[in-house]
């Protein structure tokens, strides 16, 4: 899992998973990286958070690979107001 992969290779191997990349290339203007080494990966975000918390690198990238996986008949609405106190 320490092999440097292109984004196309990552998409084939880790579709619909959260991945953490180290030694990554990610042009500032782009929404997605172009290459990197996959340090951890998981289908569930909770499992991913647990794995990624172990032996934290100083610099890494979190990416979800593949299309946004919204449940069927779901519309994502993020309008949120804030109450503080």
């Amino acid at each position: 899992m320490n092999q440097r992969l292109s984004w196309e290779e990552i998409k084939k191997q880790y579709n619909q998973q959260w991945i953490e990349l180290i030694d990554y290339d990610w042009p500032e203007e782009d929404a997605y990286p172009t290459a990197g080494i996959v340090r951890v990966h998981a289908h569930s975000r909770k499992e991913f958070d647990q794995l990624a918390a172990i032996d934290r690198p100083k610099d890494s990238a979190f990416v979800y690979v593949g299309r946004q996986d919204l449940p069927p008949n779901t519309i994502l609405s993020t309008f949120r107001i804030l109450e503080v106190g």
Partner: protein, 131 residues
Amino acid sequence: MRSFTFNPIEATPVVSGILSGPVGSIRITLVFDTGAVLTQIHAPTLAMVGYGLNHEIKKAVMVGAGGERHEGTLLKCGKIVTLGQKIENFALGAFDFSELAESGIDGLLGWDIVKQLHLEMDGPKGLLKVF
């Protein structure tokens, strides 16, 4: 002028940002969300770069469009770089985004940051032009 890309086929426009904290930095994906009053990030992601109780400003509750309430905290963030802008020492929301995270989202780039930008969106081409 700089152009930043997003995928117009996706359900939401997602841009990337580099979140920096006391112990490191993580590049993350955020929904470009003018409907969120405040930038918000998944609490475990914030913890991984060193944000904790000593950065907390106060408790906070986010209220969604349907009235649903989510408890979290307002904390002082050291730095985030996104859309070519460096935003430092600002307040952001730390909430559990586990449900949203399963949809490929690490947080929301909210109106507090978006309103600081002079930008133009080309939706069909998936471009955000920042002047």
